[in-house]
């Protein structure tokens, strides 16, 4: 004879408050609130916002046309050129600002593509089960294990001067495996939960159950996957362009580094040209990484900083 459970309490770091099942409409606003209160998420979002603005309005913000080779080549930093000029007489600052667009596009597009594929493969594998699951999981694991970067290098070797689209497609088509694995294991654990069973018993079609019951619960993991994929895309794209496998005429941070390296910028004292594009890549990457970390904290209260005890009785 147990104490009648009138409510369903939740055991957690703050474990005594009975948790009411949240209506779906408040999930979004709760998320926003959580983001605003978390310092890391704030810093990350601000950085992201900063770069997005640069990407949308480069013409208004940059002082010069990035391709214009009109200045004295090889100058170091000055009032007129905050980061100096390149060996070809271009303004480094303008190049940095115009380069934001490509990097952001690659991050979001490749990251998005990879995430969509990860959701499709991971959730299908979990939901279909059996042979389909076995096959999908095998493919996922194989792609996961084969190092993507060398594979992309091999692919790029056969198609010289890979353009932006190729980069996005290749990064997206190869970078989904990690997310798929995580999403699959989460989907597996949710699938057996009561509210999913309820929907099935109600007679809802499979697709409905997946899209409207399963996926909303997995939002935070999906967002975290996207952030991770975007981070990877930024770094991988920059790396590929740096070693010369991208389009050398493209306007991006990676290509800036490529040209800087080719012209021995470090050695000849053009430090900003050689270092600043890397700083930008690092900052954009840091933005995604911070938001990813903050998301971990938001979805797992145990990881949050421990609040101090209030007034004593």
């Amino acid at each position: 004879m147990s104490v009648p459970a009138v409510t369903a309490p939740v055991q957690g770091a703050a474990g005594f408050e009975p948790a009411e099942p949240q209506p779906r409409s408040t999930v979004g606003t709760n998320l926003l609130y959580a983001v605003l209160r978390n310092r890391k998420a704030m810093v990350g979002s601000l950085l992201l916002l900063f770069f997005t603005v640069l990407a949308i309005f480069p013409g208004q913000i940059a002082p010069d046309d990035p391709q214009a080779e009109i200045y004295l080549p090889g100058q170091s930093a000055s009032a007129h050129h905050w980061f100096g000029t390149t060996s070809y007489g271009q303004d480094v600052l303008s190049q940095l600002i115009w380069g934001t667009r490509q990097s952001l596009i690659v991050a979001v597009a490749a990251g998005g593509l990879a995430t969509v594929l990860a959701v499709l493969v991971g959730v299908s594998a979990a939901y279909l089960g059996g042979i389909a699951d076995g096959l999908l999981s095998l493919v996922t694991d194989v792609i996961l294990v084969i190092p993507i970067f060398p594979l992309i290098i091999v692919i790029a070797a056969y198609e010289k001067n890979a353009g932006l689209l190729t980069l996005i497609i290749v990064l997206g088509a190869l970078g989904w495996s990690y997310g798929a694995r995580q999403l699959r294991s989460q989907a597996l654990s949710i699938r057996n939960r009561d509210f999913v069973e309820v929907a099935r018993v109600r007679g809802e079609r499979r697709l409905y159950v997946i899209v409207f019951e399963l996926l909303p619960t997995m939002t935070s993991l999906i967002v975290a996957s996207f952030l991770g994929a975007a981070l990877y895309a930024v770094l991988a794209a920059a790396g590929l362009q740096f070693v010369g496998l991208g389009d050398p005429n493209a306007q991006s941070w990676g290509t800036m580094l490529y040209w800087a390296q080719n012209n021995e910028a470090l050695g000849s004292g053009l430090v900003y040209w050689a270092i600043m594009p890397g700083v930008c890549v690092a900052l954009l990457g840091a933005a995604f990484a911070l938001m990813n970390y903050a998301f971990d904290e938001i979805s797992n209260p145990a990881l949050r900083p421990i609040p101090k005890l209030g007034r004593r009785k």
Binding site: A13, K40, L138, D141, V142, L144, V145, I146, P147, I148, F149, P150, L151, I153, V154, I155, A156, A157, Y158, E159, Y178, L231, L235, A236, A238, G239, F242, V243, G244, L245, L257, Q261, L266, G267, V271, A274, I275, G278, V279, V281, A282, G285, A286, F288, A289, L290, Y293, D296, A302, L303, P305, I306
Partner: protein
Amino acid sequence: MRFVLRRLGFFVVTLWAAITLNFLIPRLMPGNAAVAMMARYRGRVNPTALHALEIAFGVNNHQSVLSAYLSYLGNIARGRFGTSLTFFPDSVSHQVLQALPWTLGLVGATTILAFILGTLIGLVSAWRRGGLLDGLLPPIFVITSAFPYFWLALLAIWVFAIKLGWLPQNGGYDYTTTVAWSWTFVVDVLRHSVLPAMTILLTSIGGWILTMRNNVIGVLSEDYVRMARAKGLSPWRIMWSYAGRNAILPNLTGFAMSLGFVVSGAILVEFVFNYPGVGWMLLQAVENQDYALMQALFLLIVVAVLFAILVADAATAVLDPRARDVR
């Protein structure tokens, strides 16, 4: 035992996939690079180099794709990877074996070091929750883990090699000295490896620290840790045998998955430092369109990754009795 067999089976499948990718990619690229390449080289390159390319592409004029594939597999199995264009007339296998020790020494050693150090630091920082270490490290390392490897390398070169002149910025060793097992040579090699090693260490350690820290925090709220405290065991014993040994398990699995990052980072670092390892050679091969060499190097990288995963799996089996009993 079944566990081991399943893993080996998986490795074989992955290896086969890598080999097949090597075979298929040039054929799938627009314009069928294989055939175009062969046509371009015919008559302009000597027969040995041509033969190397034929092996690399598994192309032989009047063969069907399937039989080309099979003879390609046969060649790989016999270790015949062809002749390198870049290092003509040296064989691909010989060149690859030259580069291997450099990468093993640099990347292998630093990755293991980063894993061990990172795990230890993560364990200690989570153990002293709320302490200085715990408050400072996570944000710092979240940011550093987002740094592109090569950028840190460039920075390191600029600060330590150019500005301060303490360490060399290029190569695996001073090319003017003779290669011999002498003390000066060893010191020279070490000097040349400091900067690349530091770069890899600093960029990869962040991930280990963070994941270990998160694991330990999760483990610390487990009942068996509370039980260990109830038993009045010393904090050291709890940290090692109860928290540490359980928290490290997911890290070992994660090790396998992070190898992709390690490899890509290694390639870029070797490129920046002109360090004569596998990654540097791969990029050289790409630049010279030395496809035979490139494909062999790619296979080597895949094999190395699989081997590392095998080691991580073995470590898991040793540390986790539950893994040994998995059906």
